[in-house]
C-alpha cells in the first residue's frame, strides 16, 4: 500500500515534566490537504503534543519530520519559519494594534531600513482577501469580536506559507454562523493543500470538518481513525476510556436509598438559570442526601453550571431557591454563608494556598465566614486540623506542613476539609479526583457517599463516567452548554451515558 508522504510526522514522542510523563511514546501524522482532529479529555496530552510540534516544548525522545526531513525546533519562531503556524484558543494577537499590524507583525516589508507601511497594508489586505474577509486593515484589533479576531489570526498564520496549520479550540467562543465562516476558510486552505490540525471539544464540529482523528488518553496514543469509519459512541468511549481499578469494590448507591421526592422540597432548586456565553437556561433540583452527578465532555457547561450555582459567576437570568427561600448569590461569600460551597476543578489556581500550612488552608473558609476579628482559637484550629487529617487520612499528618509540599491527592483532601469545616448543606465538587492517585481517589469517593448518607446534598462533576455512575443517585448530562438529560441512576451503564453525551439522544431520558 502506497500512501502519500505525510506533511508532518511525529514518532515516539516522549515528554516528561518533573514527576509526570506528559506524553508517552506518542506517534502522530498529518497529510497535506486533510483536516486532522486531535481528540482527548483534559490531561490527555493534546496541548503538550501541539506545543512539542510548535517548538514551545523540547521533546525528550522521538523524531519529528516535516515533509520528509527531520527537524528540531528551538522555539516558536523556528517552527513558523518551517511552515507550522498555530492559532490558539485565546487569540494570541495584540488588541492594542491594528488588524494590518497584527497580520504582518515581525515580517513587515522594509524599504531603506524603514517599515514600508503602504506595502505592509497592501499585503495584509491581500491575505484578508484570500480568505474573502472584508475587514478594515486599519481598524484596531480590539474593536472586533473574538470570532473576527480568530479569522484574522488565521490570516496571519497563512502568510507563513503554512504547510501545517494548527487550530487549537478555535470554535469555543464562536456562534453557529461564525463557525460556518471558519469552516469555509478551513475548506479553502485544505483545497490549497494545507494540513490542518483541528482541536475542538464539540463532537458535531469534529465530525463535520475533519477527515481523520487521533485520540490520546492520559498522555498515550489510543489510535488513529478515519472520521467516516468511527461511530461517535466509539470515539467517546476511546476518549474517556474504561477504568479497571480497585474502586469497583465500592458499593453502588441506588435510588432506593433516596427519600421520597413528593414529600420534600429540594434543598436547592434552579429554574432557567443561565449566563451569556456560558450556559443556556437550565433547571436543576438537588434533594437532601442526594448525590447528583454532572456528566458531559469538557466544555459542555458542567463547570459553568457549578460556578453559577455557587455564586462564583453571576447568573444573567433565572431563579435559585435554597432551602425553600429564594437566593441570589453575587459572590462565593454569600453562597458559603448559606452553606453552598464549590470546590473548583483548578486546584492550583482556584483552590489551594500553597504557601500556607495545612491548618491555615483548612481554617480559611470558616474563618472568612466568621470575619477576621473573631479568630478561631488556636486550640480549636488544631482540633479542626487534627480531626480532618485523621478523618481524611491526610499525609503527612502534620498541621504545620506547607501545602506546596503535599501531593495532589492530599492537597485535594485538605480542600475538602476546608469545605467540610463549614458544615455545608450543598457540596459541589468539580473533578475532585482528577490527577490524584488511586488510593486517595477511593477515599474521596467513599467520603462523598458517607456525607450524602448523613443528609448532605452533593453535586459531583467528573469526566470519568464510572465514577459518576458509582456515586450518583441521579445524573444530569450536559452537552453544548445545555442540559440534555436528567435521569435517575437505575441500572444505568456507561454506554447509556456515552450515547447521550455523543448524540444527545433525549429519547433515552427516563425521568
Amino acid at each position: 500500500m502506497t500512501e502519500p508522504q505525510p506533511a508532518v510526522s511525529m514518532e515516539d514522542i516522549t515528554i516528561t515534566f518533573p514527576g509526570v510523563k506528559a506524553l508517552d511514546a506518542v506517534s502522530f501524522r498529518m497529510f497535506p490537504g486533510e483536516v486532522h482532529s486531535l481528540m482527548g479529555e483534559n490531561g490527555a496530552g493534546k496541548s503538550t503534543l501541539i506545543k512539542a510540534l510548535t517548538g514551545v516544548y523540547r521533546i525528550d525522545s522521538g523524531v519529528i519530520t516535516l515533509g520528509g526531513e527531520q527537524v528540531s525546533f528551538s522555539g516558536t519562531a523556528d517552527a513558523q519559519e518551517a511552515g507550522i503556524s498555530t492559532v490558539y484558543q485565546e487569540v494570541n494577537l495584540l488588541t492594542n494594534l491594528t488588524v494590518a499590524e497584527n497580520i504582518m507583525l515581525g515580517r513587515e516589508p522594509r524599504r531603506f531600513g524603514a517599515i514600508d507601511w503602504r506595502a505592509t497594508r497592501k499585503r495584509a489586505v491581500e491575505l484578508l482577501e484570500r480568505l474573502h474577509l472584508d475587514i478594515d486593515p486599519n481598524s484596531r484589533l480590539g474593536s472586533h469580536s473574538l470570532a473576527v479576531q480568530q479569522l484574522i489570526a488565521i490570516a496571519r498564520a497563512t502568510d507563513f506559507n503554512a504547510r501545517v496549520l494548527i487550530l487549537d479550540e478555535p470554535t469555543s467562543s464562536l456562534d453557529a454562523d461564525e463557525v460556518q465562516e471558519l469552516f469555509r476558510i478551513i475548506r479553502e486552505l485544505k483545497a490549497d493543500g494545507v494540513a490542518i490540525l483541528f482541536v475542538s471539544h464539540f463532537l458535531d464540529q469534529v465530525y463535520e470538518i475533519s477527515d481523520r482523528l487521533t485520540v490520546l488518553r492520559n498522555g498515550a496514543l489510543v489510535g488513529e481513525y478515519l472520521t467516516d469509519e468511527i461511530l461517535r459512541i466509539e470515539l467517546v468511549q476511546k476518549m474517556i476510556g474504561k477504568e479497571l481499578t480497585v474502586l469497583d469494590a465500592l458499593e453502588r448507591k441506588t435510588k432506593a436509598q433516596t427519600v421520597d421526592e413528593d414529600e420534600l422540597v429540594p434543598y436547592i432548586r434552579a429554574l432557567g438559570l443561565s449566563r451569556k456565553g456560558s450556559i443556556e437556561p437550565i433547571d436543576l433540583e438537588v434533594y437532601e442526601g442526594e448525590v447528583v452527578g454532572l456528566a458531559g465532555l469538557l466544555g459542555s457547561g458542567r463547570t459553568e453550571l457549578a460556578r453559577i450555582l455557587s455564586g462564583v459567576d453571576r447568573a444573567d437570568a433565572g431563579t435559585l431557591t435554597v432551602a425553600g427561600s429564594s437566593a441570589r448569590f453575587r459572590t462565593p461569600r454569600q453562597a458559603i454563608h448559606e452553606r453552598v460551597v464549590y470546590s473548583s476543578e483548578n486546584r492550583r489556581s482556584e483552590g489551594i494556598l500553597d504557601e500556607l500550612t495545612v491548618r491555615d488552608n483548612i481554617a480559611l473558609a470558616l474563618q472568612a465566614d466568621r470575619g477576621w476579628f473573631r479568630p478561631i482559637p488556636k486550640k480549636r484550629q488544631n482540633e479542626l486540623a487534627e480531626s480532618y487529617i485523621q478523618a481524611l487520612n491526610i499525609r503527612p499528618a502534620n498541621p504545620d506542613a506547607l501545602l506546596k509540599h503535599l501531593s495532589g491527592g492530599n492537597q485535594q483532601k485538605v480542600l475538602l476539609a476546608r469545605w467540610l469545616a463549614i458544615a455545608p448543606r450543598l457540596l459541589i465538587l468539580d473533578e475532585p479526583t482528577r490527577g490524584i492517585d488511586v488510593g486517595a481517589k477511593a477515599e474521596i469517593q467513599k467520603l462523598v457517599s458517607n456525607l450524602a448518607e448523613n443528609g448532605m446534598s452533593v453535586v459531583y462533576i467528573s469526566a470519568e463516567l464510572e465514577e459518576v455512575l458509582r456515586l450518583s443517585h441521579r445524573i444530569a448530562v450536559m452537552r453544548d452548554r445545555r442540559m440534555v438529560a436528567d435521569i435517575d441512576n437505575d441500572d444505568l451503564i456507561t454506554d447509556d451515558l456515552l450515547a447521550i453525551i455523543a448524540d444527545g439522544a433525549e429519547t433515552e431520558v427516563v425521568a
Binding site: I336, S349, L353, D354, D360, L364, A368, G371, F373
Partner: protein, 343 residues
C-alpha cells in the same frame, strides 16, 4: 546547618551579625552602652533610635506588600503629618502646652488616615495597580505639605512635642519605644486575630481567596490605612527630632528604605507570607549599615551604593531563576556523581 540555613530569617540575621562583627573588630567601643543622666547612650542605642522611623513605616509596608501591593506615598505622608502638627503647634498661643501637642498629633494622624483611605480606595475599588495609585500621592503629597507649611521650614519650640523624637523614657529613647509599641501592635493585630491569615491568603492567591469567601476590598483599604497611620507617626517622630517640619526633606526616600527593609527581611515582593520580625531585622540591617559606613568615614549618602548592592543581592537570591539555576546545577552534579560511581 542546612535546616538552619533554610530558615527564612537566616540570611537577614546573618547579615546583621556580620555587620555587627565588622563593627566590633573595627571599633572596640561599639558595643559599649553608657548611662548618662539616667539615659542610655551608645552606638547601639543610636542605631535603634535612628532606625525607628524606617522601622515604623516598614511595619505597615510589610502588610501592604503581603497583599501584593506597595505604597510609594509614605514619604509624602510623613511630610504632611509633620507639616500639619507643626503648623497647629505654631498657630496656637501656647506651643508648650501638652494639650496643644495632643491636638496637633491627633489632627496629623487623622489627616494621614484619610490619605490612607484614599490610597486604599484607588487600589481596591478602582482597581488601579498599587504602584501607580500611590505614585499619585507620592507626587502631589509633598506639594500639599508645602501648601500647609506655606513653603517655610516650620521650626517649633515645644518641649512636649520634642519628646517624641528626642526624649527618653525609662532610660530608652521615646522613638524606639513608639516603634516597639507599633511593632507589637501590628504583631498582635495580625497574629492574634485572623487578619494575618486573610492578608496572606489574598496575597498568595486572590482568586482562591475569593472562592473561599474572603472579602478583599475592606481588607486592602485597612492595610493602606494602617500604613498611612505608621507613616504619620514616623513623620511626627522625624519632625520632632529635627524640631522642624521641612516639606521637601522630611521622609525623603524613606519609602525606599522601608521597602528595602521588608525585602531584606524575607517578605517577597510578590506578596503572600510575611514576617514582621524579618522586617525588624531588615530595618536594623539598613540602619547598622548606614551607621557603619558613617563611622568608617565614608560620606553617609554613599551608603546608597551599599544599599544598591544589598537590594540587588537579595533580589537575585529570591529570583525563581536563581533557584532554577542552582537546582539544575545540583542535578547535574548529582548525575555526574552517579555516572562516576557507575563507571
Amino acid at each position: 546547618m542546612r535546616r538552619l540555613m533554610a530558615h527564612r530569617l537566616f540570611w537577614p540575621v546573618a547579615m546583621l551579625a556580620v555587620l555587627l562583627l565588622i563593627n566590633l573588630i573595627a571599633f572596640p567601643g561599639f558595643f559599649s552602652v553608657q548611662i548618662r543622666d539616667g539615659h542610655l547612650f551608645g552606638s547601639l542605642i543610636d542605631i535603634l533610635r535612628n532606625g525607628s522611623p524606617t522601622l515604623m513605616i516598614a511595619i505597615g509596608m510589610t502588610l501592604v506588600i503581603a497583599t501584593r501591593g506597595i505604597d510609594l506615598s509614605v514619604g509624602a505622608i510623613c511630610a504632611i503629618s509633620g507639616a500639619v502638627a507643626c503648623s497647629i503647634i505654631l498657630g496656637s498661643s501656647d506651643p508648650g502646652n501638652p494639650g496643644t501637642v495632643a491636638v496637633a498629633v491627633i489632627a496629623a494622624i487623622a489627616i494621614s488616615l484619610v490619605l490612607g483611605v484614599w490610597n486604599g480606595f484607588l487600589v481596591s475599588v478602582l482597581g488601579i495597580q498599587p504602584i501607580i495609585a500611590t505614585l499619585i500621592l507620592m507626587t502631589a503629597g509633598r506639594g500639599v505639605a508645602m501648601l500647609i507649611t506655606e513653603g517655610q521650614i516650620l521650626t517649633v519650640n515645644s518641649p512636649p512635642f520634642k519628646v517624641l523624637g528626642s526624649g527618653f523614657f525609662a532610660g530608652l529613647p521615646v522613638s524606639v519605644l513608639i516603634a516597639a509599641a507599633l511593632f507589637l501592635f501590628a504583631v498582635v493585630l495580625t497574629r492574634r486575630t485572623a487578619l494575618g491569615l486573610m492578608i496572606e491568603a489574598v496575597g498568595i492567591n486572590p482568586e482562591a481567596s475569593r472562592l473561599a469567601g474572603v472579602r478583599s476590598r475592606g481588607l486592602l483599604i485597612s492595610v493602606y490605612v494602617f500604613t498611612a497611620f505608621c507613616a504619620a507617626i514616623a513623620g511626627l517622630v522625624l519632625t520632632s527630632n529635627q524640631t522642624a517640619a521641612d516639606a521637601n526633606n522630611t521622609g525623603l526616600f524613606i519609602e525606599l528604605d522601608a521597602i528595602l527593609a521588608v525585602v531584606i527581611g524575607g517578605t517577597s515582593l510578590a506578596g503572600g507570607r510575611y514576617s514582621l520580625f524579618g522586617t525588624l531585622i531588615g530595618a536594623l540591617v539598613i540602619q547598622t549599615l548606614v551607621t557603619t559606613v558613617y563611622t568608617v568615614g565614608i560620606p553617609p549618602i554613599a551608603t546608597m551604593v551599599f544599599k544598591a548592592a544589598v537590594v540587588t543581592a537579595v533580589c537575585l537570591l529570591q529570583s525563581p531563576r536563581t533557584t532554577e539555576l542552582i537546582d539544575s546545577w545540583h542535578r547535574r552534579a548529582q548525575l555526574r556523581r552517579t555516572l562516576e560511581a557507575s563507571a
